[in-house]
């Protein structure tokens, strides 16, 4: 069982290919501004550059994520670099684009933050217990 993720979803009125392009190519336009969403106090640009998602500021580029899967019109996976977890903890953000009627269901899943599903048999019990804490915070999806 997987309990270490947050899932958020939305519907947009464009086919998956178009939604994927808007999500990636126009990210700086829609990515929110302000201190909760960008590290730079002043202006900054969010964009995909080489194998990374970066925030470009006056001081240089700050990597937000490293691209581990890039499947236009389908999905995008980033190793998330900014979640302030211990060095041994790796979090991952997957964005999926699924056709839904005439539009697209866009799903963001941010996972792997507890490191509690390491496959250690003894972790299964705490996995259940941990799940009790986590379930109210998951929307719409089970694994």
């Amino acid at each position: 069982m997987t309990t270490d993720k947050v899932t958020v979803t939305t519907l947009v009125a464009a086919p998956p290919k178009e939604a994927f392009e808007a999500f990636t190519q126009q990210i700086d336009i829609w990515w929110r501004r302000g201190p909760r969403f960008r590290s730079a106090a002043g202006s900054s640009i969010i964009r995909f550059e080489d194998d990374r998602l970066v925030e470009v500021t006056a001081d240089g580029a700050l990597a937000l994520g490293r691209i581990s899967a890039w499947e236009p019109g389908s999905r995008l996976v980033l190793e998330w670099l900014g979640s302030r977890l211990a060095a041994s903890e790796r979090t991952e953000v997957e964005v999926r684009f699924d056709a839904h009627d005439t539009g697209t269901r866009v799903t963001v899943e941010h996972r792997g933050w507890t490191g509690l599903n390491a496959g250690d048999a003894r972790s299964s019990a705490i996995g259940l217990w941990w799940g009790d804490l986590v379930v109210p915070y998951q929307r719409h999806f089970a694994s």
Partner: protein
């Protein structure tokens, strides 16, 4: 970029780092899991986790320092230490998850508005 929760509560975030680091150890997770069912002595915890008493003592010290676990003296025997879960620290984790969800909900709302506005 750190989901910007650091701006809201720096101490809480570093506490979370520590909590997750402490919980990365399988023996300590067994301790937390066992204590989730009720307070236990150090000896019982060592048995439950299959470790030696000195090793358990070291784990309990880490758990106590992190604020995850409380220690008190057994009311019947002052030589026996009883350990119990201190749930506040786990609330940090839950609060952080809540922040993660708010962060992505806000971003997807913005993306949805962007797609609808063309």
């Amino acid at each position: 970029m750190d989901l910007r929760i650091a701006d809201r509560d720096r101490s809480g975030v570093s506490g979370l780092d520590e909590t997750l680091a402490v919980l990365a150890d399988p023996t300590r997770r067994v301790v937390i899991d066992t204590l989730a069912r009720g307070p236990q002595s150090a000896g019982a915890l060592a048995t439950a986790a299959g470790t030696s008493p000195p090793a358990m003592s070291r784990h309990l010290r880490v758990l106590r320092r992190s604020g995850l676990v409380d220690e008190r003296t057994d009311s019947n025997d002052a030589r026996v230490r009883i350990y119990s879960l201190q749930p506040d620290r786990l609330g940090d984790v839950r609060g952080w998850l809540d922040d993660v969800e708010r962060f992505w909900t806000a971003q997807l709302d913005a993306f949805t508005a962007h797609m609808g506005g063309r």
